[in-house]
Amino acid sequence: MNFRPRARHLRIVVQTLFLVSFMILFVGLAVERVPGRVASILLSLDPLTAVGTALADWTIPAWTWIGLVILAATAVLGRFFCGWICPLGTLQQLVSWIAGPERRKRNKINRYRRWFSLKYVILTVILVWAALGADHAGWLDPIPLLHRAVASGVRPLWFGGITPGGWVAFGMLAAILLLSAWMPRFYCRAICPLGALLGVTARLAPLRIRRTGTNACSGCTLCLMACQGADEPLDNHRVSECHVCLNCLPSCAEDSLKFGLPVVGSGSSTPPLDVGRRRFLVTAVATAAIAPVLRATGGGEARTADAIRPPGALDESSFLARCITCGACSASCPTNVIVSDIGTTGVEGFFTPILKMRRGWCEPSCTRCGDVCPTGALTVVTPEAKQAVGGPAEVTIGTAFLDRGRCLPWGMATPCIVCEEMCPTSPKAIWLEPAEVRARDGRTVKVQQPFVDPELCTGCGLCENRCPVGEKAAIRVSSVGESRDPGNRMLSRRSEVGRSEDST
């Protein structure tokens, strides 16, 4: 058997490298020694991350400019990102290679279909919505989608337990992989908004699959057998669909396909996208009409007690303009307190990170979630800013409240000091007052009853996490007092301790 090295062999090596590095970097999210931005660099490679934040927030934060380099390269080379880099694409390719349709049926399943243009409609919705201030590209963008599915759907099998948001995120990944057993790269062809963005850009590419003028096409359809993008190299090649996998080159019976510049004298034309101007306009207008309604379901300015965002989060509307719901923060959290939300923060908050204190707590010395966030929706904070030592903390995520009916010393005449014992601030935000309470049998029981100082409480949730009162703690954190939103507060102003001149 003689092995002839071809371009696609190089592609397979590159794909493998990126899939393996996705897995290594994912684990690295939780390893403090790996710099945070390096651990999340695959998310920064994603051009849709940069384009979405540029539209929603007029900024290209942190390392997301790398995505623009990919986008510019796409204008020369075509959708090489899809065929060579995207780990979700590689996974689908693996699935269809192992469990896909049999080889002789592939020339039918790999034909182009008009409904593949659905992805351009989805891209339009995402970009219009982003221009209105909410970047939801991450819901369907394959890189955040894969990160999220692994972070909140697979990782919790070992750490912390799965949540509804995790089930849905994992379900999306499972559905994508199952569908790719029916049609190779179904998601890339019909749904993927990143593929659509790259596809539109690829129409400019001078380098693409071309038919050489000398040899004719016999219509054998061998090129379709291994085609990933359903771009029909035998006919009028659809460069916007092509993943540059280069499988077609050696398959051609007439040896008349090449990847390169136009051949002199051959008048090849590219078919238009199957999204007419009217469909584009209707989609854009409908999105603009629906977006405010979805914001009214609880996103943006609405404040919810349980919507406790990770430390360093921007205020809610800025946060929604930046968060791509990749789940890097939850994958990086040492206590697994961060989950992908469904239901607490409205439709716009789907998959955004919130803290569930019964799973974990926000460790005062840890700033990992802000370090790994690729878009700066969570800003980088210092451990000192999170710690209330000698006075109120600069960065707080909420305030703990006692539920005296559930609290053992307050409601059950039973001694307990766990929340005070756990409180990590200095001085402790939770303090105890000795009290003598009457038990039912008439005995006098000496207990210590806890109180919370709202100025010192950072909302870290360690008290709630350790409270011995069953499934619903007797001390619970709610979002009021979070430093990111000056409107969501109860104290008139966090004052520097000792500066007060108030004598009352």
Binding site: W58, P206, V264, D502
Partner: protein, 330 residues
């Protein structure tokens, strides 16, 4: 006859035009993407943290900040005559109002209560003050408050809207006018939205009513500035004394006119029962807001020590609590 140009047609190699057609779009797209990245890269974003747009400090509306303040007290002849005599003792309205001034008058008009119930400033006094300002050549007089009850009802029931309009002035409240963000400074205040006509006014006159308050014990001039700001005001009541003194520090009015025509001695700040209203028939005009409030406190039988904000205000250098040393009775 033109000769065909041999370098364009029938050339078997790539021509200049072909080259542009092939590479031009890619080059343009690359340039556009690079420009986008260079322009937007690392920008803080359009959604700024809300506290980042810093407000300006408020202006100073006093006419002669360097000279010590005074208080003139007049009584016994009804609000109009009392105001006239007290003003005359202070040097006359012409000393304070110049031709063309935009004047803002801040009564206490917080409640849907009648004048007789004494929860708001007396409308007759407000009407007379507006008339005097316009007679002194003021370009415009706006009577305004951020009311606690519905503003239209409060301004109508109190009689202040009618008295103001009859005298030629205009009425404004939180629903009818815009706000400007100012940095009021202090420990508890910080940045607040302030009713726009106040910020734009050349002269500012504070006209509180003397009354009992369930939280601050007594409410007088400095507490009255709560009606100048818009936002989460209830939060300020946690540290009411510090907040009142800081409001007095932020708003330095041209004049303070204390209305003790009727004094609400209990059930404040809203009152309601006429049994709690005492007809004192007094008006004080002051350029020292601390002395003015201290005098008002004596009508409620409070010593300065019982209203801690007075001591804080004195420490902040806003005036003296020794009101007798600067007051004249006329």
């Amino acid at each position: 006859m033109k000769e065909p140009r041999p370098d364009i047609d029938s050339s078997p190699t790539l021509g200049r035009r072909d080259l542009l057609k092939t590479w031009g779009p890619a080059a343009l797209a690359g340039a556009a993407i690079t420009a986008l990245g260079a322009g937007l890269g690392g920008r803080p974003g359009r959604h700024q943290r809300r506290d980042s747009a810093a407000g300006q400090p408020p202006p100073d509306w006093r006419i002669d900040p360097s000279s010590p303040g005074r208080v003139a007290i007049a009584g016994g002849e009804g609000p109009r005559a009392n105001l006239g005599r007290a003003l005359a003792a202070m040097g006359g309205i012409d000393r304070f109002i110049s031709r063309g001034d935009r004047v803002a008058v801040k009564p206490n008009c917080a409640w849907d209560r009648t004048a007789e119930q004494a929860a708001n400033t007396d409308p007759e006094l407000i009407g007379e003050l507006v008339r005097l300002c316009l007679a002194a050549g003021a370009g415009s007089v706006v009577v305004l408050d951020n009311t606690c009850h519905d503003p239209a009802r409060a301004f109508a029931r109190s009689g202040i809207a009618e008295a103001t309009r009859a005298a030629g002035g205009a009425v404004a409240h939180q629903n009818s006018t815009g706000t400007v963000k100012l940095d009021l400074g202090g420990v508890v205040l910080g940045e607040w939205e302030v009713l726009q006509p106040i910020v734009e006014a050349d002269k500012l006159i504070n006209v509180p009513v003397v009354k009992h308050h369930s939280l601050g014990r007594g409410t007088l001039g400095m507490k009255n500035w709560m009606g100048a700001i818009v936002g989460g005001r209830p939060g300020l009541h946690q540290r009411i004394n510090q907040a009142c003194a800081e409001l007095g520090d932020a708003f330095r009015p041209t004049l303070t006119v204390i209305d003790a025509t009727r004094v609400l001695t209990g059930g404040g700040p809203t009152g309601g029962s006429l049994d709690l209203v005492r007809p004192d028939d007094l008006v004080a005009v002051a350029t020292d807001p601390v002395a003015a409030d201290t005098w008002g406190a004596t009508l409620l039988d409070f010593s300065p020590a019982e209203l801690p904000y007075l001591a804080i205000a004195e420490r902040l250098g806003l005036g003296t609590t020794d009101w007798q040393s600067v007051a004249t009775k006329v």
